[in-house]
Symmetry: C2
Subunit: 448 residues, 2 copies
């Protein structure tokens, strides 16, 4: 931003105190809706409704979705019920869907009768789509045209459709049964001769997603084709909505945060770090810490069977090192496979190539780490021969880490579980236990 | 996609073998450029140039950027130099910039003279922007207008500008010195009366980024305001380019993958998992495994000072458990702080709130894990009093993990290092060593 925006919370408060309706209206009308939401977020719910009272409901509906979802819920609950019907009608369908999913079903049933009947149908359609599907991400507001009109007529029709559609930059061409037969960009319409037929201008090679396909698919297709929006169809190829670029960007950013948290063994917070309640955070971290603790307890139980002789006591110092070597290697492999699966870089069917790679890499990396491992062991082991236990264990655990780290995400994906959430604790559980067993076993073989 | 596209690699090969120029042209002209690139990627470089020979250079330039970057480089190197000038001229400026950054400077200097002078200027401007800046992500092709013309005249002008601009959906309004004074959307122009002045239609509250600002800022602004493109200005607020939504989406996805890899202690691959050479992968994983090994070696050296008496030997079995508890807690905290910093959820200036949260959470989570820790210890310790060493250590290491895990990313960010890359090894190094020291210390105090 070239210059900081001069309107700030204290000034809003002064205007509210003075009843300066004209000033409030100017702020709420002139700035970008996101900016209005940002500046007014510090106000109390009743004060925000006071600001909203100065502007038409269309504008309210533009600003409203820019508040954090939890705030939107608070605002709805603090509102006069009669205000809600028009606001909900005017909100973009996808933003509205996000909001209604946050509310208790009873509250939704209470406010739905306030909404016009046509909109109610759209609301129920979107709410019925599963959380992670293309349908949950889409809006039902799009621009569409038949194929048999001219570019000039098309632009005239868009003038009347536009206020209702989130994006008029792609216009979808439908046959009379609403089957998706092509699309034109607004750019193409503008550049075309006004007498050209939409049917001749349109691209017939339409990329679409089915309403029940997962959001990953939507992201992958939109990113690959650089679309501003991607059409969503039902199983008969009838257009039911579009997913726009801004919602995909939000979904990708949220997904990246969720996956990072999951791979650090945290149930996704789903809200800002500083906003999350301590109790919710305790649960989301505690439950996975407890699971990891349980796996570490298995390691402890295995290790408790080891009764080192006096001459073997030097091996104790190396326990964290050999366990960590396996864990680090497993963590690397699991993360590489998880990210490759989630970006579409590789698929389940590539499992043979993946395992081959990880086998080779596990051997190479294990061999590389075995060298400093041997040198370090020489300083503590009674004889150079006995020191061999350390590099031999390192080689094994790094290899086991790479294999377990790559197999588990593939396995979880194949049975429909989220690899990012599940892999970490199980990789560390298996690799730690195997690491200790290998260590004890080799110690027995080499040291007798 | 409702139906799989029927054109496949073998069919392309047959057409090439039969010299079916018309067939090749049809494939290369009719499908989406991304699809053409995908289907032809399996061909040899010379074969791809044969396909390209059937279509005009404008179309070649549309398809070309959809090949993976490494393939684009191979294609350039395999090409007749005379073909390159026009192709590079026609490519979108940002795609071209991505490609030229992959080439050796000597090769760039060799092909630049083949490019028209006006384009050469743009190329040098983009190449001069630092890797991670707004400038490196932008394109110099945008639509602009003066404020004092009508909507009707504006649309007529766009008809002539459009073929050169990557996005005509936002049109930037410039004064005679090219200062950015506002913008109109194509939608607003279409919906306006043809006689309305651009200066009256335009939004004056323009959000822009400076050419030297980091890409994170670009992503944050574009995501917050749901823009299709965001303008890039120099330090005089003169428009120099735009960053479009598709490039931001690509950057966000790449960044997410890079961060996931860094947090698993892997130098970002920067290419697909299956494409990366084994040697490059060995290096990118090996270097961090070696650093983590060195930190584990410190733990081993500290631990080697411990000479457990016969009655203390049961403590050995719990070494991996106490080390892992600290590590898991530290990993959670570090990941939460890193993702919160990178999404803009919290800033460096929030450090007091962050540390307070982590202190409370560390205590609570440590206390929770101490309970099963004590129960497990009772099964192995000679007396219930001695068993207290385990829960006391767990409480300490979980707390230390939470604090170190949150302090280090803040520290690295404040001195300008990437928190995602640096935090993991240092968190584990410090937490492991502190964990072992606390364990040994408490064992000495409690067990004598």
């Amino acid at each position: 931003m070239p210059s900081a925006n001069p309107i700030l919370l204290p000034e809003l408060r002064v205007m509210l105190a003075e009843g300066d309706t004209a000033g409030l209206r100017e702020v709420a009308e002139e700035l970008h809706p996101a900016t209005v939401a940002e500046f007014s977020e510090g106000l109390a719910e009743a004060e925000i409704w006071q600001v909203f009272a100065t502007i038409p409901v269309e504008r309210q509906a533009e600003i409203f979705p820019y508040y954090p979802l939890s705030r939107q819920v608070d605002l709805l609950k603090a509102a006069d019920r009669r205000q809600l019907g028009p606001l909900i009608e005017w909100m973009a369908a996808d933003n509205r869907d996000d909001l209604l999913r946050e509310l208790e079903p009873e509250f939704v049933e209470e406010i739905l009768p306030l909404v016009a009947k046509a909109e109610r149908h759209d609301i129920r359609l979107l709410l019925s789509c599963p959380e992670d599907s293309a349908g949950a991400l889409m809006t039902t507001e799009y621009a569409s045209l038949p194929a048999d009109i001219t570019a000039g007529e098309a632009i005239a029709r868009l003038r009347s459709q536009a206020p209702d559609s989130e994006s008029i930059y792609y216009i979808y061409v439908l046959d009379p049964e609403r089957h998706l037969v092509g699309f034109v960009s607004l750019r193409d319409l503008i550049l075309a001769k006004p007498t050209a037929l939409v049917g001749d201008l349109m691209q017939r090679d339409v990329i679409s997603v089915r309403i029940d396909e997962p959001q990953d698919k939507v992201v992958e297709q939109l990113a690959r084709f650089d679309f501003i929006a991607i059409p969503v169809v039902d199983d008969q190829n009838r257009l039911v909505g579009i997913v726009t670029h801004d919602d995909v960007l939000d979904a990708v950013r949220q997904e990246a945060t969720d996956e990072a948290q999951m791979s650090a063994a945290i149930a996704p917070l789903g809200e800002g770090y500083l906003e999350a309640a301590i109790t919710s955070m305790t649960w989301k971290r505690g439950v996975w810490l407890a699971i990891l603790f349980a796996t570490a307890a298995v390691t402890a139980m295995v290790l408790s069977n080891w009764e080192p002789a006096e001459s073997q006591l030097w091996l104790v110092a190396f326990i964290p090192l050999v366990v960590a070597s396996g864990g680090n290697s497993g963590n690397q492999s699991a993360t590489l496979v998880i990210t490759a699966l989630s970006t579409g870089d590789c698929r389940l069917s590539d499992w043979k190539r993946i395992l081959k790679r990880e086998f080779v890499l596990g051997l190479v990396l294990g061999a590389i780490l075995a060298v400093p491992g041997y040198l370090l062991a020489l300083a503590y082991a009674p004889t150079p021969l006995q020191a061999i236990v350390i590099p031999a264990t390192i080689l094994c655990v790094v290899l086991v880490g790479a294999l377990v780290g790559s197999v588990l995400p593939l396995l979880f994906r194949s049975i429909g579980l989220d690899p990012a959430l599940m892999s970490n604790p199980f990789v560390s559980a298996i690799v730690d236990v195997v690491g200790i067993l290998v260590y004890m076993g080799l110690a027995m073989v080499v040291l007798g």
